[in-house]
Symmetry: C3
Subunit: 261 residues, 3 copies
């Protein structure tokens, strides 16, 4: 029997001891747990980045995985702490919308409000619930504690408002949802609903310009801006062998318009 | 029986193969050891940063954990290599003061000078003892070798000089000890000895300015500079939803003065 | 029996979900596999950086380790996907030369072309073979699938052209092959073939200047530029307690000339 995997997703960065502290807390409660970093480079306090990251990554994990997400600008306020069951995976996170997309993909999910303090670390601080609530709870889950032992089920968890792309005939208007480490712009325009291949792309309110559609980066020349479908099924804009975000001045939430014929 | 965890803390960064080399060396000696990254982003050759990081993180780990720390500007000189027993945890590091705070928290700790070359990698290089001494020793510890087999016990290990905050009535003068990845300024002024809540804060010799005291970041408005207690029990200065270090121009060792009434 | 270790080496960075996705795919196929990060900071699409990284690190790992390398600018084109046996280690990577140095060190190695789609993820994307081919194949290898089941053996894998240093009497001309996170310049001039200690060093075509030879960084004063042998056996230029690459304006491929007497 293999010990459960506990994944970690935070905005703690890598020069601070906070991640190491949480690993110590987890191993102190369950010395055989297997701790796996997903990222500690969610942009600081950027719940929407974390939400996108988790919704993209977590569906690939097997049931039984425990995911700990600490991106928590409201720490110490009255925001709740949560555990969720999503298709047999366990998610532990603050109730700030960070689980929105993940829970939607696994709907119906069950969510509990963490209230049972015997599973927390004492004394409880006001500024580091990753150490005092989330890591201990994840470790107890890995020991076999059931979510329902951790607090009451709730139905009113926080959800981030949806930001859907809209369609007008052969034209879509959406926005940049994520910029990856290569500078590729991943939009919120769903690939499977584009039935006319885009021929022009406009960014940030600018006039749409002719943009070649490619199946893969390797079809274009270095330095060419191309349109393609992202590996996760969304419309994407890339600068081959370069950084589209930097060169085109695009940010997360920059408007994207695409036009067919 | 779970295999021991070996944690890694270095200043090697993430584009160089040095960390990977150490992981390979460890797994070659003990294929079942569980390797866990704490950080590889200690600022280059910054022993004080590593010292703070370890003293904050290591007390949270369970007995039996093996910690490997390689921040080693004196590699190849006559600085000694050490193994320590700190409350049942094993620490492997150069003798340059990097363990000062950790050993103090676990006092009395026992420390040995690594001299037994049969536990090292041959040939010994002059520039990479992480690969040639520290990683092999950590791996042998995980196989059950006892510290006393690795060399003689010593009592004169290097300690970093203490930099304590000082108090004058309702006034404290200390310094920034650590800047975390959010830009929060963690000082060396101990929270449990502040009995009058600070009302004014001065940085770098400037006139102390009124600064609101809060229990948690969420009590203040975005953009407000606040004073609070860090999760680790020290006086802290934060810029809510921002980066205090950048905006206030503070560095590690910048003087901090706080005044009550 | 310990589960196999699967190492990951990519250029995916740490804000994108791509690494997490691959970890999920691996754990879904083999829940007991042990996933170990080597780096996700290969410079974007820089096959030569990855090639150097792997050739330096992989010889230190034990037989049975599975290495997954995804630095793949040609994804979706007709470049092949490979698995190799190198001294009992398994390497899974695109056929773009990234394994050149590693396979040379373990010669003779055996290489297979990945063609058996039943070991891949469906549907196959055009832009993320890390998720769809390389991670599933690595996970299946960790379950005991043999390389020969994954496709036919080949002998014509892609190799990066060699860039060897050349010697003229007491003079060597080579280039910077790698700049580590400290800014040290690691060249392609082999230490074991330098029989006259260098006294002058020239960079980028400049006149060679007197440069002191040291055995280890600690022999020189902070701020001094020194010449020494790298931990991996090459001629190296370092700025003690500083960053040689930044201060000397050196880049990867910058010419290096060293002169003895």
């Amino acid at each position: 029997m293999t010990a459960p995997v506990i994944t970690l997703t935070t905005d703690f960065g890598d020069a601070s001891p906070y991640v190491a502290v949480m690993k110590g807390v987890i191993l102190s409660i369950n010395p055989s747990s297997r701790v796996l970093d997903l990222t500690h480079h969610i942009r600081p306090q950027n719940v929407r980045h974390a939400e996108y990251f988790l919704a993209t990554a977590l569906p690939h994990f097997p049931p039984g995985t425990i995911h700990l997400c600490v991106v928590d600008p409201g720490v110490g306020s009255d925001r709740r702490a949560l555990v969720a069951d999503a298709g047999g995976q366990r998610l532990v996170a603050p109730d700030n919308g960070v689980l929105t997309g993940t829970l939607a993909k696994f709907a119906p999910a069950t969510v509990w409000h963490l209230t049972e303090r015997q599973y927390w670390r004492e004394p409880l601080s006001d500024t580091f619930h990753g150490r005092d609530i989330f890591a201990p709870v994840a470790a107890h889950l890995s020991c076999g504690v059931e979510p329902m032992e951790l607090g009451p089920a709730i139905a009113d968890w926080v959800e981030l408002p949806s930001r859907s792309a809209v369609r007008f005939g052969n034209r879509w208007r959406g926005e940049v949802r994520f910029i990856d480490d290569f500078g590729n712009l991943i939009t919120n325009i769903p690939a499977d609903r584009i039935d006319v291949l885009p021929q022009r792309v406009g960014l940030g309110g600018g006039v749409p310009r002719p943009t070649r559609w490619v199946r893969t980066y390797a079809e274009a020349a270095p330095g060419e801006v191309v349109a393609l479908f992202s590996s996760d099924g969304f419309f994407e804009i890339a600068l081959v062998n370069g950084n589209a975000a930097r060169d085109l001045g695009a940010l997360v939430e920059t408007e994207v318009v695409i036009e067919g014929n």
